[in-house]
Assembly symmetry: C2
Homo-oligomer: 257 residues x 2
């Protein structure tokens, strides 16, 4: 299925953004920190975000450590080779629409001396296909947990008008009933997952701090394959011709934010 | 501010869709019914949705009453004149991305004999400007409640390559602390509102059933006016040149779903 990658984040910049220019494109990078509610408990997260193009400069110029940002974006997997020729990849949120917020925000001071937003927002909708048949496992306490990967296939048009395809592979964790449900589905199944982005951090064997961006499912819906039956129409208040013409113009390649 | 209109709905088609052709554009219309959790309580809603273009035919052909749909869309206000020349308007959700879902869904049978999804999704992000300075009022039980209107200003390019602007006016209700907060803000203030779509129904003096689509706020954030200070950069793991070039191509007018 065609990918859905809709992310709404509201959080505090853990540090000031950094900015660089690649070719002619400005790229700003940073981390949004927030506590948010997911599956009835508070998640604390440090979400890596990338700002690209004119937005990168605009957001960089207007923010510092502690600024509160609203970011509408898409999770995207970047792939590259490191200096030794090794294949590397990581998932970050690409900001597509950013607002700098003002107001009295409750914040939490973290161990690194930064601040994170106490009542933040971290809502992600992912639509993609199961990369492999998932397997459920159980915690020592008996809770079902299933890790699975989704392939998010995007088609896009470059500034040179070439149509390209790319795929992001993202890791999702489901708990309890959702874990049992997703483990019944075969490889390739199209799914819509609602949930949150979660960052996992650890120290590797060389003592380097590492982190990875994954997702936690709050709801999982199976997308119906494109067969189906004909519908029976019924009476309905009709749309006006002028309203229809205007909506038609807004329907194609439209961006709701 | 430039509008944000991001809506995620998962619900049951209350009746089969109706379809008509306006000019050369197919328009399908229907109602998504769901119970969802907002501000800690269950909301029951019947949300009017419009499908435009190729999607209208595709969704119409694949669904019937009771089908479960995931709709990513945008709230849009339609304006028209009725047969007597009177000005009319209404707000509906324009579907921009639709999936038909399968699975075992818990449903509720409603008084009209239709079904609605028991654990649905109804998440809306609105970004716009306060149309007027809001006034707080109090319920007999002493709860603060504030109704306010947001102007959502969109720019879009028609299929004839004309750049057009349109504005949707939407009605939002805030309760308790949020009601008190929004009533401190002057007309014109740019806001980001997270919440849910809510349908209000009543019978008018001619005995006609009427309904209107409004929104209920779960969070309200004030958007900072575009002044601001320079940021202080810090050390950061750099993005690769090839990853930057690819993200740059995806940044412009990109649609995350």
């Amino acid at each position: 299925m065609k990918a859905i990658l809709a992310t709404t984040l509201i959080g505090t910049l853990a540090r000031a953004l950094t900015i660089k220019t690649v070719g002619t494109t400005d790229i700003a990078e940073g981390t949004l920190a927030m506590d948010s509610i997911q599956n009835g408990r508070t998640l604390t997260n440090y979400i890596p975000v990338v700002f690209v193009g004119a937005a990168a400069r605009r957001v960089f110029d207007r923010t510092t450590a502690g600024s509160v940002l609203s970011v509408q974006g898409a999770p995207r997997q970047e792939k590259w080779e490191n200096a030794e020729g090794g294949k590397r990849s990581r998932v970050r949120i690409q900001a597509l629409r950013t607002e700098v917020l003002s107001g009295d925000f409750a914040t939490v001071v973290d161990r690194a001396g930064g601040t994170r937003l106490a009542q933040g927002v971290n809502q992600v909708t992912l639509g993609g296909n199961l990369v492999a048949t998932p397997e459920v496992r159980y915690t020592p306490g008996g809770d079902a947990v299933t890790d699975f990967s989704l392939a998010l296939n995007e088609k896009y048009t470059t500034r040179k008008n070439e149509v390209k395809e790319r795929v992001s592979f993202v890791e999702v964790t489901a708990w309890k009933d959702l874990a049992e449900f997703v483990a019944t589905l075969p490889k390739g199944t199209p799914l819509t997952v609602l949930g949150a982005a979660v960052s996992e951090s650890w120290t590797d064997k060389d003592g380097q701090k590492r982190s990875v961006l994954k997702f936690e499912a709050g709801s999982i819906f199976q997308v119906q394959p494109p067969e189906g039956r004909a519908a029976q129409p019924d009476a309905h208040e009709p749309i006006s011709d002028e309203a229809a013409a205007e909506l038609a113009d807004m329907a194609e390649e439209d961006m709701p934010f």
